[in-house]
């Protein structure tokens, strides 16, 4: 489609190795990294070499996929004629047990994002990372860098030690609101607790597929704990968690809400209404059904044209046919909302 505007709501960069963060770490943490076993974040939701982690051709010669701004420019920003892209760095500070180590690494990653990505490429906006397992330290970090114009979102790893609706996380959402940011729940996380209600699965593929169920649990929690009632202007993006499951979740949540709402009296609207008002979803991975008619049905069942925001999820490898286009059969005006306008309004981009 000529002249179509594109905003890519989810692309990724990777810290190639802990030493690139040295300019942004204190002497104490540089020494600690040099002289002890502490090496920053070591857990990752994207095992190196797994097919999902990097699309063929995205790995630069001297580092992991997503570590080169030049490649990012040529393979995404220029190739798809992207107006803006939201950059997410899944550096797992949430898996660092030492609270001060987690906070120091989060600050370093954020300063590195500013210096190496945001200041060098005006089309980029980014999520700032936080030690979400320690909400007081997370708030400090949001206060420290949250007003930088390049940051539009706070990165919350999908898997957390407690569901994000839990009131221990309210201070994080309060800080998100204070700085006019979006909360972005993202694929991944390293809380050390099992990723299913029945323990640890055997295969990475199980964890990757199961991430959708984590997003469902998080959404259920945020609604039932009253997070959206507590923070009526909260904007939440579900990044890389899929969304074809959303109609089924809304039906279930609404049905149970009718029967059980006296337990959660602060939840005064139907859950689906909170979702349509407060939550957006990036499009990749689509996990499209074989029959395109079924995908179109799902999009219509969402009940709003404003919920989806186009993403490539670069450099992660999902579908092959989504670069700069939306593989959903929709009229041009509806398509354009998903390709750019929903994200423009959501992230308040120019």
């Amino acid at each position: 489609m000529p002249n179509q505007q594109v905003i890519d709501s989810d692309i990724h960069c990777n810290v190639p190795n802990v030493r690139v963060l040295f300019p942004y770490l204190s002497q104490y943490w540089r020494d600690t990294i040099e002289q002890t076993g502490f090496n920053g974040a070591t857990d990752t939701a994207y095992p190196a070499g797994a097919a999902l982690s990097a699309k063929p051709g995205t790995k630069p010669e001297d580092g992991p996929a997503g570590s080169s701004l030049e490649l990012l420019r040529s393979q995404v920003l220029d190739a798809n004629d992207v107006e803006y892209a939201i950059l997410n760095c899944a550096y797992a500070v949430d898996g660092i047990r030492n609270p001060y180590g987690a906070a120091a690494m989060a600050s370093a990653v954020n300063d590195w994002l500013i210096a190496e990505w945001l200041e060098k490429e005006p089309r980029l906006r980014a999520s700032l990372v936080i030690p979400s397992q320690y909400p007081d330290l997370a708030v400090k970090e949001i206060d420290r860098v949250g007003d930088h114009p390049g940051f539009v979102q706070v990165f919350l790893a999908g898997r957390s030690e407690h569901p994000y609706g839990n009131r221990r996380y309210f201070p994080i959402f309060e800080a998100v609101m204070k700085h006019n940011l979006v909360a972005g729940i993202q694929f991944g996380g390293a809380p050390g607790t099992p990723p299913t209600a029945s323990g640890w699965p055997t295969y990475y593929a199980e964890e990757a597929v199961g991430m959708a169920h984590i997003f469902q649990s998080q959404l259920t929690s945020l609604i039932s704990e009253g997070t959206f009632a507590e923070f009526p202007d909260l904007r939440l993006t579900m990044v890389e968690g899929g969304w074809t499951w959303l109609p089924s979740l809304m039906w279930r949540l609404d049905k149970n809400w009718k029967a059980l709402r006296r337990e959660i009296p602060w939840t005064v609207q139907a859950p689906s209404e909170y979702i349509r008002e407060h939550v957006r979803f990036t499009t990749q991975p689509i996990d499209a059904p074989e029959n395109p008619k079924h995908l179109r049905q799902i999009v219509d069942q969402l009940g709003s044209d404003e919920l989806l925001m186009y993403s490539t999820d670069y450099p992660h490898w999902h579908a092959d046919d989504t670069d700069g286009r939306l593989p959903i059969d929709l009229p041009a005006d509806r398509c354009q909302k998903i390709m750019s306008e929903n994200a423009r309004a959501w992230y308040r981009l120019g």
Partner: protein
């Protein structure tokens, strides 16, 4: 619409036209448990019956831990403990010809595997003696200590040859994902006896009940069950359980079913991308699911726009894989009379849903005396 069974004039035989895929009975008292429980465990039962895994403290809506307000038997005792009252309030009231009895809470609620095994045996003997023998409309399930595959397999071997038992019963929240090897003896034994496995809502094995920690409310405990079902289907499929046990059939009970089509798409797309890691899988996940997994209806999906229900059936090709269930006596009971939305659905679908699929899935007689 309630369909009534047709009684043939000559023989008095019945053609079932309504099968309830999920009802719950419970012991009237501890004294009744001990009537069936091996003596070795009486003392333990008195002291530690409720000593299990902590953390899952979600007071249920409804009387007596989640039951309908009108389900307390007139003679006293907990809901689901009286056969005469269950006959009156469920089987006769709704014209239910056959019902699958799923007694809950005996397979995981304690940390002692041998006590669990004894309690499951007691439950199974009690089901036969006090429910299925006096009331042939009620079919029994073999409850098993589901986190201990070998003990469970022994119980399946003990009772499997008896046709009053129509399935093996497990709960969805197991100690490990269901594809893991500790459960394979259960699958092997079930296959050996030609029994399907029913995986029911609930259970607790000590983990937080979501993949991201403990939620705060029963609303989440209940709604979150569909994530547990999804996780288990992922494990069963990607671990290759149905390729290892090709004659095994499962029914997901009380988990809803709208989550299945999108999960199937996600399983297919990730299998295509990650199949190098899953060399033991020879078939597309969606094909395996279609051949091996059935679901009960309650709590039936209620899309805001009823035509979306028809789309859901089509997307998942669910026409012959759903079985009606009431979940009696629990608070979220679905009545046979208004389970389906008032829209046009394919010819024959309602008959399959209300009895046809269950009769063939459970190999129940199409004509019974």
């Amino acid at each position: 619409m309630v369909m009534t069974a047709t009684r043939t004039e000559q023989s008095g035989a019945v053609r079932p036209t309504l099968v309830d895929g999920d009802i719950h009975t419970t012991f009237a008292s501890s004294a009744v448990v001990k009537k069936y429980l091996a003596k070795r465990w009486h003392d333990y039962h008195d002291q530690y019956a409720r000593w299990g895994y902590d953390g899952s403290n979600y007071p249920k809506d409804g009387l007596n831990g989640g039951s309908r307000g009108d389900s307390v038997p007139p003679e006293g005792g907990p809901p689901g403990s009286s056969l005469p009252f269950l006959r009156e309030q469920l089987l006769d009231e709704w014209g239910i010809d056959l019902a699958i009895n799923n007694p809950l809470g005996h397979s995981q609620k304690n940390r002692h595997p041998d006590y669990l095994a004894a309690l499951c045996s007691a439950t199974n003997d009690w089901q036969l003696a006090e429910w299925s023998e006096p009331e042939p409309r009620i079919k029994a399930s073999i409850t098993v200590p589901s986190d201990y595959g070998e003990l469970a397999a022994q119980e399946i071997d003990r009772l499997g040859p008896n046709p009053s038992y129509v399935q093996v019963l497990m709960s969805i929240r197991t100690a490990e994902p269901l594809g893991r090897p500790r459960y394979w003896p259960i699958y092997e034994a079930s296959e050996r006896h030609g029994l399907p496995i029913g995986i029911h809502f609930g259970g607790h094995s000590g983990h937080p009940i979501t993949g991201t920690g403990w939620p705060s409310y029963y609303y989440e405990y209940h709604s979150g069950m569909s994530q547990s079902f999804q996780s288990q289907v992922v494990s069963l499929i990607y671990e290759g359980v149905f390729e290892r046990f090709p004659n095994l059939k499962m029914v997901m009970i009380e988990g809803g079913f709208a989550w299945l089509p999108p999960l199937t798409w996600r399983l297919d797309s990730h299998w295509k991308r990650l199949r190098r890691d899953l060399p033991h899988l020879k078939r597309l996940p969606s094909e395996t699911i279609r051949d091996h997994i059935w679901l009960t209806t309650q709590p039936i999906e209620e899309p805001h726009r009823p035509e979306h229900f028809a789309e859901l059936l089509e997307q998942g090709n669910l026409y012959d894989r759903l079985m009606f269930a009431t979940d009696y006596p629990h608070w979220d009971f679905d009545a046979p009379s208004d389970v389906l939305p008032k829209i046009a659905l394919p010819d024959g679908f309602e008959q399959k849903l209300m009895f046809g699929t269950a009769l063939s899935f459970y190999r129940l007689p199409e004509v019974s005396a």
